[in-house]
Amino acid sequence: MLKPFPICQIIPPHILNNIVERGKKEQRARAMQSLTLSARIRGQRDITSLLPIHAVAGTKRRTIYNTHRSETLPGTRVRGEGGKPVKNRAVNEAYDYCGDVYDFYKAVCERNSVDDQGLRLDSTVHYGEDYDNAFWNGSQMVYGDGDGEIFQRFTKCIDVIGHELTHGVTQFEAGLTYSGQPGALNESFSDVFGSLVKQWKLKQPANKADWLIGKGLFTSKVKGVALRSMKDPGTAYNDPVIGKDPQPAHMKDYYKGNEDHGGVHINSGIPNRAFYLAATAIGGNAWEKTGKIWYITLRDRLRPTSTFKDAANGTISVAGQLYGLGGIEEKAVKNAWTQVGV
């Protein structure tokens, strides 16, 4: 009897199909067995986002799909790990930047992919018609082309790709609920690590970075530099069509409405600025000390219902443990949260 995959029935059928097509002999047989099994639990696919998908080999394994403007995921497989660049720019950007994000987590956080067990990194490009968005669906990254009026293609920015992949990391670690303060923290960790991937790639110390999220995504018709500013939340854009950047920089301006799951993309400005303040006070490369403090807090200290206060307490405590109680790092993190009113 063949040994099945550790949690064979939760491997998505499209992955199994690929193994059946391209895997080694034994892998193919196991995948076939799993496909048969998974047919029995069809309809329970939501559990795939709750359980770790064990890797066949724990290394960087990227696969890019193209939905050709449809919304049926994952789409046609167009480039796999080690595959040569193709003519399609979005495919190559998704492949290259996803590789940078994987390398960042490996080198800086000593983390092997989204689940720290070498999870395969699947991305779909050309999702939907003129789709002005990118998202993480619980098991893969998805990128729209933008409408060409407000947004360009979402694969253009390395920080966008870092942001989406970090949603996966958060899902496997703190599991922050996507609503209210835990949701805004979930968004903020994605912005923090999206920005850090970019700074790391450009070898920029904290005082040289632009601290912008999604710089270059807007078309030239939009009056704005980016979607969010971690340095000055609320100042990224001010445009007649899309309005003004609504992010608060301090708890006194916290958004209390119901839209956007209680403003998860709005209130993230507050913890975003706390990270910026801590990183610039500590100095040097933000991904080294401040990034490590935030990463360990996300991995070991936070839970699904954690609040801004919990994140503040967690990061202050981790800073003290890593770099000395009462040290400049601990003080910088504490000051940062105080300055944003947490």
Binding site: D46, H163, E164, L227, H261
Partner: protein, 98 residues
């Protein structure tokens, strides 16, 4: 009858509002939107249609249709919308742009 669609969330978190008056549309267009409203069974939908575990960076919609003695607002997570409801949302976005 007036339709108002508020969109929030998405990676960008940009909030937009689209609104249009069905009674001011050409007869063909008006008939088209009424078919979509019926197709989505809009006035019988629950007030919230959300996924149990929302997918990060998906859009969030608030769709209101009022007039002719009826008024209903539904809060919708993009990933939880039926294809009929998605068609209705897409139509409102497309037709309020022009």
């Amino acid at each position: 009858m007036r339709i108002t669609l508020k969109r929030s969330g998405g990676f960008g978190g940009i909030r937009t509002t689209a609104s249009l008056d069905i009674s001011k549309l050409a007869p063909d267009t008006s008939a088209e939107i009424r078919r979509l409203i019926d197709g989505a069974n809009f006035f019988n939908l629950p007030k919230t249609i959300h996924a149990e575990r929302p997918q990060p960076d998906r859009f969030h919609y608030e769709l209101t249709i009022e007039g002719e003695g009826q008024s209903h607002t539904v809060s919708i997570g993009e990933e939880a919308a039926s294809s009929a409801l998605k068609s209705l949302i897409a139509w409102v976005q497309r037709n309020s742009k022009a």
